[in-house]
């Protein structure tokens, strides 16, 4: 299975440019997953021990509010990366992620990766700098969303 995942993973924008040795390490922690429409990939407050690279489909990031029920705050699609709580103690999800349509993804075992990053700082740096870019983009997007620019 890992043989077949390597070329697929090498094509993912998130992993582009990673050297072969590090890619191999990631492939060792990766597997294919599939979710039907309506199925949850992860739930708030559960342990965050993985992250996903979405290959096909669409996933809604939802936050549950007692008065208004679940609110969709963002959707992710092909090539997007889902989840960075596995990087930050106490390693718990802060939101729900639900497949809106049939979704195929690569799931990476965060626990296994945390160990590998401890042993190989170069790998840790490569991964963190990639996640930092995603976090920065999401922060900008959240700011724009908060401004509610289309209101007036």
């Amino acid at each position: 299975m890992h043989q077949t995942l390597e070329p697929i993973m090498a094509e993912q924008p998130f992993l582009k440019g990673l050297d072969a040795e590090h890619l191999q390490l990631l492939v060792g922690c990766a597997s294919n997953v599939r979710y039907e429409a309506g199925q949850y990939l992860l739930r708030e407050s559960e342990e965050a021990n993985q992250f996903y690279i979405i290959r096909h489909g669409r996933v809604a990031i939802e936050v549950y509010t007692p008065n208004r029920g679940p609110i969709v705050i963002e959707t992710l699609g092909e090539g997007d990366v889902l989840g960075w709580s596995w990087l930050v103690p106490p390693y718990n999800w802060r939101f729900d992620a639900r497949a809106i349509e049939l979704t195929r993804a690569i799931v990476l075992d965060g626990k296994c990766l945390r160990g590998k990053c401890e042993q190989d700082y170069q790998l840790g740096y490569e991964l963190l700098s990639r996640f930092l870019q995603i976090i920065e983009r999401r922060l900008q997007a959240t700011r724009l969303q908060l401004l509610d620019v289309y209101k007036d």
Binding site: G69, V72, E78, Q140, A141, L144, D148, Y150
Partner: protein
């Protein structure tokens, strides 16, 4: 009358002249219909039968008798000028008064004014069109023109952002365009109920989802100014040359023809040097808070 216009700086490209038409022409309302909860389109026909030709991106001053005059971009098809179409958000007295007009009522129209989108300059390039909210209206004539001459352009993408699914302008038309194989149409909303199966997120989040060659891409952007600033940043980061980024700006207007100075932005009069301006000209001005 020319005395108070000397305040415009060295960047002015066009000198105002009194040959500019200042008297409104009479148009008759043919149809007014809702687009979203707070916006509508109005189709006008010239009372004198003489059609108004325009370039995509130009605007008219619409005069509602007894209420006032407001600048509104033309949102119809430039290749079908028999009907003059505007799409308007009801925000205040003049726009609400237009909404109340009935078939056959008269409205004064001055124009078409301003610079259009530089469509010719984009020939041979990939084209990225980014619209936010009512900003899709001034872009629609450009979309008609690009699709009418589709073979002249590389990849074409239309990215549309709206507040909620109910606020998406021209929904049926977007669906039709999405059905074509020669244009990528992506839509996103800032907020949505769970029943919405489309994208949720800001319009800039759609940029990584489309394919274009940044070095040979021309982008046309219209929407709230903050949204345009964020879009500019994202496109520049991806390598689209600043000189290929074009924006349609809004400022309060009175004369619409470069005489009164109401619409001044730094050295530019938006009514005459704009409303469409290249980012290379306005980048510094857009970053200033009070202009």
């Amino acid at each position: 009358m020319k005395t108070d216009i000397g305040t415009a700086g060295p960047g002015r490209q066009t000198e105002p002249t009194l040959d500019d038409p200042i008297l409104p022409r009479m148009f008759q309302v043919r149809r007014i219909f809702s687009e979203t909860a707070d916006s509508f389109s109005c189709e006008l026909q010239p009372s004198d039968g003489e059609v108004m030709h325009f370039s995509p991106g130009q605007f008219n001053m619409l005069y509602v008798f007894g209420v006032g005059e407001i600048p509104i971009s033309i949102s119809g098809n430039p290749d079908k000028p028999k009907l003059l179409v505007h799409t308007i958000r009801s925000v205040g007295p003049a726009s609400k008064a237009i909404r109340r007009l009935k078939r056959g009522d008269l409205i004064g129209v001055r124009g078409p004014y301003g610079t259009g989108w530089p469509v010719k300059g984009a020939e041979g390039n990939d084209v990225v069109i980014v619209a936010g909210g009512i900003g899709l209206a001034p872009l629609r004539p450009l979309i008609y023109r690009v699709l009418a001459e589709r073979e002249k352009y590389g990849r074409v993408a239309l990215l549309v952002g709206a507040r909620t699914p109910g606020d998406i302008l021209f929904q049926r038309q977007l669906e039709r365009w999405r059905g074509r194989l020669d244009i990528d149409v992506l839509v996103t909303v800032d907020k949505a109920p769970r029943s919405w199966r489309g994208n949720v997120g800001v319009v800039t989040s759609l940029i990584p989802k489309i394919r274009f060659d940044p070095a040979t891409t021309t982008a046309f952007v219209c929407g709230p100014e903050v949204m345009m600033r964020f879009t500019a940043m994202e496109l520049e980061v991806r390598g689209v040359p600043t000189s290929n980024l074009h924006f349609s700006l809004e400022r309060n207007m009175k004369c619409g023809i470069g005489l009164c100075g109401h619409c001044q932005l730094g050295p530019y009069f938006i009514c005459k040097d704009g409303p469409v301006l290249g980012l290379d000209k306005i980048k510094k001005l857009m970053a200033l808070r009070e202009i």
